[in-house]
């Protein structure tokens, strides 16, 4: 039944959703004004996970801040580490050794795969009522967690990237284990796509829901897969390349409107599935590029004091552009750090997109935008 065919009784009610709700992906509350099942206004009430990470950035030194960046986006801690490291390296003019660059790309892409698996497609299926695909996603994620654990000892908040390099070199059988996983993962991903993505109910729940045009996506500041699903071909890895990305061959999947409309929830799901395939491609290439030179960290002064000024540096995280606006004052601590995250913009855009949707479609929308509460609140 389309939204237009639902008759309006003219009686509206206010409905509370959250802060503890299985589909809010963290502690997050919505206030809905609905007419029966149809939403006329949504107000996300955020801030339950506000840990003031930006204030902490002013209190500790640049190196000490690294573990906190894990908590900005705990599904993609490697990318969050990388964003901070890159911001400081840019303003302090630090040259990162090649081996560290390659390792960063490897860990970034591994992290992108598991972040998409859990947040982008797994939890999406579960929020739509399909528990089985979620368990398949979690099973694959577990292997990558083990691989990353062998690298840095942590399974969620890695704290692995360092300013000027990385913490440890790759362990002895890391490449073999990862490549073995990739061989297993590619067919598993196809299976996942058949199980969830080709399911009739799954398709109908997502087709034509929460459509965002390219113009709106740019105006509301959507980034990453959400932006690309709306048909804007923009990826920081390709358009503002960093690390060794310019040397790698990979495609940038853009929403095709497979089920009729470009920029609907199904396109967002599809873009994430394709991105995982691209990540597999990148990983295979990156392992061949590992140089023999074992230097993994640049020589830094004992106290890092970048010049006073300001800079905005971003990386492509799984939830889109994660950038730091960094204001320095010539001392060992940041004067002000502001992190721009993908979920924050998506959450602020949900207010406009969800008008006229059914309540169950709002759940699909939140999940398809892959918003996670720690990234919204920071």
């Amino acid at each position: 039944m389309s939204v237009a065919s639902v008759s309006s009784s003219g009686e509206e009610m206010l409905l509370n959703m959250g802060p503890q709700h299985p589909s809010t992906h963290g502690v997050l509350r919505f206030i809905l004004r609905t007419d029966g099942e149809v939403i006329s206004a949504v107000e996300p009430d955020i801030g339950f996970l506000h840990r003031s990470i930006e204030k902490i950035a002013e209190i500790v030194t640049f190196e000490q801040f690294m573990p906190y960046t894990d908590r900005v986006d705990y599904l993609a801690a490697m990318n969050a580490n990388h964003a901070w490291a890159r911001a400081v390296e840019e303003i302090a003019h630090i040259e990162v050794p090649r081996r560290a660059q390659v390792i960063r790309v490897i860990t970034d892409e591994l992290n992108r795969i598991i972040s998409h698996l859990l947040g982008g497609v797994g939890a999406l299926a579960m929020d739509l009522g399909a528990v089985t695909p979620f368990l398949h996603a979690i099973r694959e994620r577990e292997t990558v967690n083990d691989i990353i654990e062998s690298l840095c000892g942590a399974r969620l908040t890695y704290n692995y990237v360092r300013i000027g390099g990385v913490w440890y070199d790759l362990p002895r059988n890391f490449a073999d284990r990862t490549l073995e996983f990739l061989d297993h993962f590619e067919p598993a991903l196809d299976e996942f796509d058949r199980l969830a993505g080709q399911n009739k109910i799954f398709k109908e729940r997502l087709a034509g829901v929460g459509v965002v045009s390219a113009k709106d996506a740019i105006a509301h500041g959507l980034v990453g897969p959400n932006l690309r699903a709306s048909g804007v071909k923009y990826d920081l890895r390709r358009n503002m390349p960093y690390s060794i990305y310019p040397e790698l061959e990979f495609d940038i999947p853009v929403g095709q409107g497979i089920l009729g409309t470009v920029g609907d929830c199904y396109d967002r799901y599809w873009v994430r599935i394709q991105e995982m395939r691209e990540s597999v491609k990148i990983l295979r290439q990156a392992f061949k590029m590992l140089p023999d030179d074992k230097t993994i960290k640049a020589k830094l002064p004992s106290v890092l004091k970048p010049p006073a000024g300001e800079i905005y540096v971003a990386v492509e995280a799984p939830r889109g552009e994660m950038g730091w606006y960094l204001v320095t004052n010539g001392g060992p601590k940041a004067h002000r750090g502001r992190v721009r995250t993908g979920s924050y913009a998506a959450m602020s855009a949900i207010r406009f997109i969800s008008r006229g949707l059914m309540i169950a479609d709002l759940v699909a929308c939140i999940a398809a935008f892959d918003t996670i509460a720690p990234e919204v609140d920071r």
Binding site: I46, G47, H50, S52, E54, K55, E90, I91, H93, I218, A219, H220, G221, L227, V232, Y234, N239, M240, P306, P307, A308, G309, E310, I311, Y312, A314, E321, G323, Y325, V327, H335, R336, R338, R340, Y344, A345, M347, S348, F352, D377
Partner: protein
């Protein structure tokens, strides 16, 4: 276009007294300091000019600078104290997907008391939450924002936490905002246990 070229275009359009290019030594990105009264016109031009096309607002970042004293020694050995008044700065990072370029804009507010900048919400909807958050955490008043409320902090919170001179209130609605050091608590408990044991020994 590079950031420098974009800033040059802006300067050409609005004049050098309204838009000033700043690039401190050793910093890779230039910043355009925009006069507060030109901000909206500059953003509008930035977004609507087909060659600039900067429709993507990446972030708004306000920062607080306390008044400070700078000691300088002149050639004849005399110490000179230069007083720098406090200020607030609001920085904007704009970008264009089609042209693949980026630019930093900044508005400097000379006073820390009731800092006000014009809101760009009506020009770019992404500015809504960015402005509300900067209001919430730093107390910047965005003139013309239709719904300037606290976003992350509770609505009845006192003060602006990201300001440099922010002092946290001891409690909020009866909930203490700090707690005793766990190490001190442990020592206290040990002392209490010891006292209890001593009292028991005395009895027996």
């Amino acid at each position: 276009m590079t950031s420098d070229e974009i800033i040059a275009r802006l300067t050409q359009k609005f004049g050098a007294e309204k838009i000033q290019r700043v690039k401190p030594e050793g910093v890779p990105q230039p910043v355009a300091i925009v006069a507060a009264d030109t901000l909206r016109a500059a953003v509008k031009y930035l977004q609507e000019d087909p060659e600039l096309d900067c429709g993507y607002l990446a972030t708004i970042c306000a920062s607080d600078f306390l008044p400070e004293e700078k000691k300088t020694k002149s050639a004849d050995g005399q110490e000179k104290i230069e007083k720098i008044p406090g200020r607030m700065e609001v920085a904007y990072h704009f970008g264009s997907y089609a042209k693949n370029h980026r630019v930093n804009l900044k508005v400097v507010i000379p006073s820390r008391e009731n800092p006000t900048v014009p809101s760009i919400y009506s020009l770019n909807p992404a500015a809504d939450w960015f402005e509300r958050e900067q209001f919430d955490l730093l107390g910047i008043q965005f003139d013309g924002h239709p719904d300037l409320r606290r976003l992350l902090m509770p609505e009845d919170w006192q003060g602006y936490p990201m300001r440099k001179d922010y002092q946290q209130a001891p409690e909020w609605r009866g909930i203490p905002t700090s707690r005793e050091n766990s190490h001190d608590l442990f020592l206290k408990r040990l002392a209490a246990e010891e006292a209890e044991e001593a009292a028991e020994e005395k009895l027996s």
